[in-house]
């Protein structure tokens, strides 16, 4: 009887591990329990939210005015930079019509969210945001920062969502070199540094330090052409047919405050 009391929970936990790894039967249980324990996220972030609130209350009006002026000028600059891009889209759609091609450039819609906490797990690199299923955030949606792809939504509760970073070792993303189109699969590296390794790039191919890898359209989850990382290490190994490539994500997640969630579900 004493052993039974020990073995039943052990068998249950092994069953949970196997079923969570192989199947998705327990997704509803996870979703439900996440919602139940979501007040913990709120409590954990309370001190930092309080600090931010106090800091905001004490901000000088002049500082806010200067910040506003700076942001307005930045916005204007970005709008001007975007003008040739808009004409290119028009030109592209005309050419597509002429060629009777079905190719078109998407005009994506985003949801803005604020990051509430970063990485509370030992082996996973993830962050929590203040938008959840009430704001139509869904599992699998792609998340962007101002400088590139941040990751993907892995779990949602009504008020919070969890995002797995592209530098997490369990996250894979198809990438291609912006300079010459060399393709590979990006995978997070299990180290303290937030880096990504690119697998399956043949050693005879041309990859240089400083090259930028962007998301590839091979996989339907990720939209094409968004920056993923910059090459910080590339090495040809004698007994390996593939290059050893390490990227530094273009989007630094240490000082990121807001992120954008791509609204469309590219799940087809």
């Amino acid at each position: 009887m004493k052993h039974l009391k020990l073995f039943i929970p052990i068998i249950v936990s092994i069953f949970l591990i196997l079923s969570d790894y192989k199947f998705s039967y327990l997704d509803n249980l996870r979703q439900f329990t996440s919602t139940l324990i979501s007040p913990i996220y709120f409590l954990v972030n309370l001190p930092s939210q309080l600090y931010i609130w106090i800091d905001e209350q004490g901000t000088n009006k002049q500082v806010l005015l200067n910040q506003n002026k700076k942001l307005n000028s930045e916005l204007m600059e970005l709008k001007v930079k975007l003008q040739p891009f808009n004409s290119l889209i028009l030109e592209n759609s005309k050419l597509s019509k002429l060629l009777e091609s079905s190719y078109s450039i998407d005009s994506p819609e985003f949801t803005l969210a604020k990051i509430t906490s970063i990485s509370q797990s030992r082996l996973k690199k993830q962050l929590i945001i203040n938008k959840g299923s009430k704001n139509n955030v869904k599992v699998g949606q792609v998340v962007f920062g101002a400088d590139g792809i941040v990751g993907q939504v892995t779990n949602t509760t009504p008020f919070y969502s969890t995002i797995i970073l592209i530098s997490d070792p369990t996250h894979y993303i198809p990438v291609k070199n912006e300079r010459n189109g060399v393709r590979g699969i990006g995978k997070g590296k299990a180290s303290n540094s937030n880096t990504i390794i690119v697998n399956y790039v043949e050693s005879k191919l041309d990859v240089l330090l400083g090259d930028i890898f962007i998301s590839s359209s091979i996989d339907s989850k990720f939209p094409h052409g968004y920056p993923v990382g910059k090459v910080i290490h590339v090495e040809k190994q004698t007994n390996n047919p593939f290059l050893d490539i390490v990227l530094e994500p273009t989007q630094n997640t240490n000082n990121i405050e807001f992120i954008l969630i791509l609204k469309q579900d590219n799940e087809n």
């Binding site: 009391k5 020990l6 039943i8 929970p9 052990i10 249950v12 936990s13 092994i14 069953f15 949970l16 591990i17 079923s19 969570d20 790894y21 327990l26 249980l29 996870r30 329990t33 996440s34 324990i37 913990i40 996220y41 409590l43 954990v44 906490s117 970063i118 990485s119 509370q120 797990s121 030992r122 082996l123 996973k124 690199k125 993830q126 892995t154 779990n155 969890t162 797995i164 070792p169 369990t170 299990a190 180290s191 303290n192 937030n194």
Partner: protein, 155 residues
């Protein structure tokens, strides 16, 4: 806090343990931080006579798995087996001095880590930061503080 209601006390301290486990820390600190849930649960197992310790370990392990976004059952399995070790040496831990207790905590933390990593390795391969191996040591180092705080709360 009344000690004649061990399960109420357990819920309160485990809520606090889950709260600490959820605090965002820089990556290295996160890796070496003690197994808070294990420490709090061990305290309760040693100092409170109660039934269903393994079943409760399963429940709190699952809650931790969900909170941390881990595989369901990963922390639960580690917590159950570490608790089984502590239950076996419970009398000895109870009468030992604080340094000997820290040795027991180090062993319990090591069992926890081995099982936690074993699940990780079986599923994802040998792909983790070695800094995590320091976690049982920090678990043992934090034991006196946890014991002191919880014994004050108990009374």
């Amino acid at each position: 806090m009344k000690t004649n209601r061990p399960h109420i006390f357990l819920i309160k301290i485990m809520f606090f343990a889950l709260l600490i486990s959820g605090i965002p820390l820089p990556n290295t600190f996160q890796l070496v931080s003690p197994f808070w849930v294990l420490l709090f649960y061990i305290y309760w197992t040693i100092y409170f006579p109660a039934h269903g310790v393994f079943f409760l370990a399963l429940i709190f392990g699952i809650l931790l798995d969900i909170l941390q976004g881990s595989l369901l059952g990963q922390n639960a399995l580690a917590l159950i087996i570490s608790t089984a070790f502590i239950v076996n040496v419970k009398q000895s831990v109870y009468v030992s001095n604080i340094s000997t207790q820290q040795v027991y905590m180090f062993i319990a933390g090591s069992i926890y880590l081995v099982l936690f990593l074993l699940t990780h390795i079986l599923i994802q391969g040998l792909d983790f930061s070695w800094t995590i191996l320091l976690a049982p040591l920090t678990t043992a180092l934090f034991w006196p503080a946890i014991k002191f705080i919880l014994s004050k709360l108990k009374h």
